[in-house]
Symmetry: C2
Subunit: 352 residues, 2 copies
């Protein structure tokens, strides 16, 4: 019952009549092999459909692969990035068994300089691969240019810079996500009323918001709805400012039937709606099952949250790099997360 035939490089060496070291050179395209020998060995490798034993390989090399993760820090304003971080840590734990280390770097969403500072650290640390959220476009572009120069692969998480040579983008399909938001806004909607598209943000990450807005508008033009879309930008993220602006908004537009918040700050609107008297509460649609949104969803103030499995985004980003570096697996340039609809009824089982 025992398979006594030697395996791997040893068998290749035997069949090709060369030393193991030579086989090794061929496998790793190293120099020091004549063209003739190289061909001979390659042929045997192909014949045997040789698959290197990764256990042995990693063990022998002793090398530790280091990955860097660069994402926004969790703040009291939003804990959105807590979820990707959890996924990243889960991935880390899984692959740490196999000689891979993951180092996390955090920057402040309020401060592009903190982003750049961290990129410097990462480059100095000399890592083998990078996961990053390119929240600040021009800063990120500078960084990835340097990565490319150094041949360090990187993947974008949650938001994308489509024209950059990233290994992959792992995040939501923004246009379609906005499109679905349109649909969700129109459940039990009477014709002729107004719909508000609400950006609450300091730094308008143009690409992300633009794509969402395009999708949102596309839904209504596809449906030939006759209602008005009112786009409102609020550049303050504290509750008071938001409440003030909403006050004015609703005073001017009493027939507002739905509000779509383009990011996770949906709870700010919910909080306002809960405190204001409405004959018929507008439908509220937003993003992300963050802590502050949870209770409003449970209460019914928020009707729908669109989510893109942030934890899984973190997990997959790290794993994509790992797969690429260790197994040389081909990675899709775009990996779109599903567009999940989270409601009061299914939120308990949503894996954030």
């Amino acid at each position: 019952m025992k398979e006594n035939s030697p395996k791997g490089v040893k068998e290749i060496a035997r069949r090709a009549n060369v030393a193991i070291a030579t086989v090794d050179r061929v496998i790793h395209n190293r120099t020091g092999v004549s063209a003739k020998t190289r061909e001979k060995v390659k042929k045997v490798i192909a014949e045997l459909d040789y698959q290197p034993n990764l256990l042995a390989s990693r063990l022998a090399s002793g090398k530790i692969i280091t990955l860097a993760v660069l994402i926004p820090s969790v703040t009291d304003e939003t804990d959105f990035w807590d979820a990707p971080l959890r996924g990243i840590q889960r991935a880390e734990q899984e692959i740490s068994q196999y000689g891979v280390k993951v180092e996390s770097y955090f920057f402040s969403l309020k401060d592009p300089k903190s982003f750049t500072a961290q990129t410097t650290k990462i480059l100095k640390a000399g890592v083998d691969g990078i996961v990053l959220s390119p929240s600040f476009i021009s800063e990120a572009e500078i960084f990835v240019a340097k990565c490319k120069e150094r041949e360090i692969p990187f993947v974008f998480i949650d938001s994308n810079l489509p024209d950059q040579p990233s290994l992959s983008y792992i995040g939501p399909p923004l246009f379609q996500s906005g499109y679905l938001a349109g649909r969700l806004c129109t459940y039990s909607l009477n014709e002729g009323s107004k719909v508000v598209l609400l950006n609450i943000t300091k730094a308008l990450d143009s690409y992300t918001y633009k794509q969402i807005e395009k999708g949102f508008r596309a839904y209504f033009s596809d449906q030939k709805h006759s209602l008005t879309i009112l786009r409102v930008d609020i550049h303050q993220t504290d509750f008071k400012s938001v409440a003030n602006q909403l006050q004015t908004l609703f005073a001017k537009n009493p027939t507002t039937a739905a509000v779509f918040v383009t990011n996770s700050r949906t709870s700010l609107v919910a909080r306002y709606l809960d405190g204001a008297p409405f004959p018929k509460k507008p439908i509220l649609v937003g993003y992300d099952l963050v802590k502050d949104n949870r209770s409003f969803l449970a209460k019914g103030t928020i009707d729908f949250l669109i989510c893109h499995q942030p934890e899984d985004q973190g997990y997959r980003s790290v794993m994509a790099l790992y797969q690429s570096l260790v197994f040389s697996t081909k990675i899709n340039k775009e990996y779109y997360m599903p567009i999940d609809i989270v409601t009061k009824e299914n939120q308990a089982y949503y894996r954030n």
Copy 2:
């Protein structure tokens, strides 16, 4: 910069003044070590917070872990199980690198005997762990009893036998899933109309359908809806029979406003609805983004599909066994999949 301190068992052996083999005996609780020595070694292991190098361990042992998967085969009637199978194969591919083999066994949902026949094969093959869908309750109970006897761990996928000593159940939270179905049926619903709960199945897997039905009814009693829930069972799964029964059903109940199909055969109803004249098409809610359902969802005949990430179920089932066997990771007795709402707008990005 080089860490020259010996690692692992060697270092333990040095510190405890014993041979490597003795350390090995202690680690694997083998016999042949005096109580005194054992204690001494254990102390050193604790001090060093020793983590075995899995690469080296798996390499040296050379053992191949074999897992068996027992699921229904894909038929032309439903390709639901294609998705879990894909997930299983993805997992297999990932861990085959590390000396794990996965063997798939298929049975026919129409024939309990085929299930039993495959279980016999599996036991004969002598595997280290099993993933199974316990579609036939009593047959499955007999099988898992044997597994328990032989101390072979097993996990249930997609449907559960709660009282059995499984390592884990990986599948949907059925009650809550039915509950959400209730909610989905009531979008744009006028009071006073009827809702149909429709089971189209030959073998009524009592536990699964009962749980879904309970959840479905619970929603309506929670909402204090005044409408009637009409439960209908159709025991034939071919289109003609189903169409006939639906004909009678709708003739008798013209005010039917929504139909909830409790499994993936939703497309049969959609096909009927498409061909029948309706003043107002009832809302159609069902399960699973299988091939036959896709086009009806895109057309709008099916309004909502509830899905539980079947591919991921397959992936996670295999990985749970792997984690448990290789890393001795603790596995949750229940791992509930999220309850996803799939619509025309987000189906393109749904990872089935």
